[in-house]
Subunit: 232 residues, 2 copies
DNA sequence: ACCTGAACACCGTTCAAGT
DNA sequence: ACCTGAACACCGTTCAAGT
């Protein structure tokens, strides 16, 4: 277990492993040190403090995300990137809350944003269109993964035992609409929350494409004339 | 400061106040106790442990969200609810990560889901359509707020000082597309990230409405025939 | 019933000291 | 240069004891 060379990179790798296997709550400087075969204080020779460790872990995660190629096909570029974001964040469920709370973006984070903006620019998006598209896509992807990583069940089978066993089932029965939803969706054969990802992503990509077709090039993106809006 | 009656409710209220004012990291059992004029161990007479306190705080937040009325107008129902979710989560920036990590839903949480499903059912959504609409809407709303609560700047002015002052500006200048984006969007007069919320929400509502018009009633929601899909 | 003080097993981090 | 041990100021929580 104790590698002869302890480096910043090997400490970060060990931290990612530990967080993946035992959760972010188990990632303490003392436990991490034991895990790499060293005393707790030795870690501070490679990293100034725990915040810096978390920053480095987050940038490792960004580095694993597939970048869109700036070849002009913004739809497939954004789709590939978004699916890769989701896949990577599911592999490291501790990462999303951390990514959003970091203030010092690392090199992989910056490269990721650079490539995504480049992909949209290459397809002719103006500044306001890039801002709109990026905001909506990231909201959807991050929000979806946030729900996915925190659902108490992955499949219909796990949900079934949760609903039938225990006191939760009795409580649920007092809510008619939740009961209807549980029976007809969650307990229906083949249910999984994840199957909503692709249709949802296409919905968002369709909406971006439509607004782009209507909009003034480079101008502010806005809903089409038919949409009900209540702007003040 | 020390109220004569210490109750579970007053403890939870004080905890929400403390988290609002000083952040969730400052919410320790010892500090909370001092804040309500009592010793730390007294809190355990009203709540079994800190997890239960966090559960109760999250349900307080759910209780503050405006419920959609089941009057058949699903669009305005979802819009009202979604804007209320955002407003409440911005008032309590600590709440979103906590909401998604709780496993024991409180009464306000259940009432919230019950009313939202009821709103969609009343408008004639089938089970799969409810599942699709709810997943996409929540992904967008939670994801948007997640970004909003963690942005290092709220307005263009704050962003400007961040970009011009300090070492971050020099680093940024080495990324041409991020520089372009910063100059033309973030530093443009009147910029704020929040203005993307309403258009994004309408994009999602439009997409839900379109797929509903095409779909088999009660069947699985899917992208329209024209959309590029890569289903396996 | 409600509150307390001492204690236990943890944290991140500083600092002086070892090799 | 790299690692260590003791120590400090914290955590959440148990437990026996006070009123």
């Amino acid at each position: 277990m104790p590698p002869h060379k302890l480096t910043r990179e090997s400490v970060v790798s060990a931290a990612v492993d530990l967080a993946d296997r035992e959760g972010i709550a188990a990632l303490t400087m003392r436990r991490l040190a034991r895990h790499v075969g060293v005393e707790a204080m030795s870690l501070y020779h490679h990293l100034p403090n725990k915040e810096a460790l978390l920053d480095a872990m987050v940038d490792r995660v960004y580095a694993a995300i597939e970048l869109p190629t700036p070849d002009g096909d913004w739809r497939s570029g954004l789709r590939t990137r978004s699916e890769s974001v989701r896949a990577v964040l599911l592999q490291h469920p501790w990462a999303l809350p951390l990514m959003e709370s970091r203030q010092a973006p690392g090199p992989a984070n910056l490269a990721h944003h650079e490539a995504t903006i480049a992909c949209l620019r290459a397809a002719g998006f103006g500044p306001a269109q890039v801002a709109h598209a990026y905001a909506v896509i990231d909201a959807f992807v991050y929000g979806f993964v946030l729900q996915e990583t925190s659902l108490p069940f992955d499949s219909g089978e796990e949900a079934a035992t949760m609903v039938t066993d225990g006191p939760f089932g009795e409580l649920l029965a007092t809510y008619p609409n939740m009961t209807w939803f549980t029976t007809n969706v969650i307990l229906a054969p083949g249910y999984s929350f994840e199957r909503e990802f692709r249709p949802g992503l296409e919905l968002v990509l369709d909406g971006i494409a439509e607004r782009r077709a209507d909009g003034i090039p480079g101008g502010a993106a806005r809903p089409p004339a038919g949409a009900a809006t209540t702007d003040t």
